[in-house]
Structure formats: C-alpha cells, structure tokens
Amino acid sequence: MNIYINGTGCISPQETAQGGPLLATLREYDQVRLTNVDPDYKQWVDVKQIRRMSRVVKMGVGAANLSLEEAGITQPDAIITGTAYGCLDDTGVFLSKMVNQQEEMLTPTAFIQSTHNTVAGQIALLLGCNGYNNTFVHRGFSFENSLLDAIMILKEGSAKHILAGGLDEITNHSHQLLTRFGIYKKTPVKTMELLNSPTRGTIAGEGASFFLLSPEISPGTVATLTGLSTLYKPLWEGEVIGHIMKFLEDNNCTPADIDLIVTGRNGDIDQDEIYEEVAAALFPDHAEACFKHLCGEYPTAAAFGMWMANAVIAEQQVPEAAVFYGKAPEKIKKVLLYNHHQGTHHSLILLSAC
C-alpha cells in the first residue's frame, strides 16, 4: 500500500507558511535561538479562541490547517501529533503561579492548556473531529512515532485521511535550562555558517510541520511516505550504517537508488560526526541537503526535514540555502532523510516521487 502525502503545512523560523517556492525568501539569523515567523492566525482561529492559545498551540493549529487546505480535506479521520516539550509556555505559567501564589488562586486556562495533547485536542475541537486523537511524547522520536501510528492505522484500513505532525516550541525558561546543559553555542552563529562551525553546540529552534497522509492520491500529491525506521542509542557508527542498509533493503532499494540525502546536521562538531561517517560509507558521491541551520535544533525537527524533502520533490530542485554538498540529479525521485537527536534518537524517513 502506498501512503501519499496529500498535503503539508509548516510554520518555522523561515517563511514557510506563506507558500510559494521553497526558501524563496531566506531568513538569515545571527543568533543562537531561532523563533518562528508567525502567519496571521486569525485566518484560522476566532479572536475569542486565540486569546487562550499559547504560541505552540497557534503554530500547531496553523500548520495543521495549511496541510488540510493543501490536501483539500476539511475533516480528517484521525489526528496524531508528536511533541517532546508539549505546551511548555503554559506549563511554565502554571508552575510559576503555583510557586508564587503558594498554590492558591490558580487560574484554569494555563493548567488546561499545559498538557502535551492540547494541540491535537485543539485542532480536533476547531474541526469538530471526533475521530482518533493521539499524541506521542517520546523525546527525539515523538514525530517519528506519530508517523508510525498513522502508517499502521492506514494499513489497517480504519482511516483514510490522517493528519499527522510534529511540533515543539522554545521558551525563555526552556532555553535557559537547555543552555545550561551546553546544548547551544556560546556565541551567535550566522545561519549559513552554522554547518561548518568548528565548535560544540548548536542553535535552538522551534516549529510545527503537519502532513495529511492517505492511501488515496490527490491531484496535487508529489510524494509517498515509503519508509520509516528508528534506532535508539546505537553503540557505534557501524550499527547506524548497518541499520540504514537494512532499511534500504526493506524498501527495495540500494544507496544508488537514492537521489538526495537530507541530514540533520546541526553544526555541533561532535553530533555531526556520524553524518560524515554515514555519508562516507554509503553515500560518498551523493548530493546532501541539510535543514537545521534553517529551523534550529529541537526534538521534532525531523518534521521540518520531511516537509523540506517533500517540497524538494515537488520542485525537483534543492534550494541553494539547503545544499550542503554536491549537486542533486535532474530528476529527484527518492529522498532519504537521516536525522538524529542528541546522538541517541536516530531516524530514517524515505520519500519517493509519485
């Protein structure tokens, strides 16, 4: 069974919500924390409802609507989201009030909106969708597991149109905490220089990317979600290489069949080493594109990578800003997305042109 990507929507630190050619207007940054370029959310949500929504809820609802609009679907059969951090801002608000007000006089809104499944729930409420609704909170596999759930449901035949997506936000509080762990660079880095940065650490990012998946092709569809696999805490690079070989074999292809690899390089010299190893072992002559210098690092950043891979197939070219190495062939039929988060959560997503 083919699983078609009938619609996509993305809200990110790039101008991805506006439509038009991929990265036509590149947003270049010189900082260690990227924040979303917000569209006008009032086009999807009533002002009275927006007032209760935090940024992550708005970006999720916005990206979900973009993907539904592109697919021409008003009512999906299921809504599945993946998020590692959830509604972090409202969680912070609620916990801060709990401390500051000695657990007295707590307001309901922040509490209600602070759960991880708020976004999927909010999308369902706005659409009036009573179907399957689930949220995966699995750190660096949150998005991948939401896709896996969607794939299994579609293969079971219990749904025809599934809205699946990954989203995470960065807040002042979380950025401060994660900075203490040494995840981010100590000094600002320019967007287009990040991937060749010789230092440790990366840049923080955020975003929401949604996909309308279906076994039925729609007129504007360009790609199928051909394969998905995850690998947790590989012991060494050979295990990753072996896993990729097996993954390609399971999907009836070899490295030679891949036209473009999209990797999750994030500019951290330690974390990018594995991409070098994989490229050298399996894809030495392949063109490679990257995305985390555009959207920043976050646990569900692979969703942005998949959105970009789908757009590359649609346009049959890789925007200069996304090219890391080489030149993609004229016809881009198969794109392999290889991403890892924090060196522990490795994932593979294979997209094929229709």
Binding site: V47, I50, R51, M105, L106, T107, P108, T109, I112
Partner: protein, 84 residues
C-alpha cells in the same frame, strides 16, 4: 468600574477589546455581549480573590454577580464594605 474593566481584560486576555468599549451594563456571558464562557467564569472568580480578596460563598449567586461589570462592581463594593 474603569479599573475593573481593565482587570477583566487582563485576566481574560481579551485581545483587541478596549476598557471603554465594554458597557457598564453589557452582558458578560451572552453572545450579544462579551460572549464569555465557563472557563472565563472561573477566571473571574480568581480575579475577585486576587484583586479584592473576595470569595463567593454561594455559587448560586454567580450568574447574578457576573451579569455585567456593574453587577460585579456592586458586589465588590457591598462585600468590601461588609469586610471593612
């Protein structure tokens, strides 16, 4: 009442609503009025506690107290006087 309107706007995050656009007798919960809902009602109860140290002892009084800004102000004035 102007202060109370500002507090309501802040507590409920009523974007694009100016204090002067809320009528003193305008209904808070009807569709023709501000169109508030049950979550807003909880927020207004918290507002009374936070700003005026008032707890609504009898929940059945709620609809009457939160009918409009004027009824809220009347309740606040009456009960603060009682406390004083």
């Amino acid at each position: 009442m102007a202060d109370l309107k500002a507090q309501i706007i802040e507590q409920l995050n009523l974007q694009e609503v100016a204090p002067e656009s809320i009528g003193n007798d305008q209904s808070l919960f009807s569709k023709e009025g501000l169109g508030l809902d049950s979550i807003d009602a909880l927020e207004l109860i918290v507002l009374l506690q936070q700003h005026y140290n008032l707890r609504i002892a009898n929940p059945e009084q709620g609809p009457q107290i939160f009918q409009s800004v004027r009824t809220m102000a009347t309740y606040i004035t009456a009960n603060q006087t009682v406390q004083a």
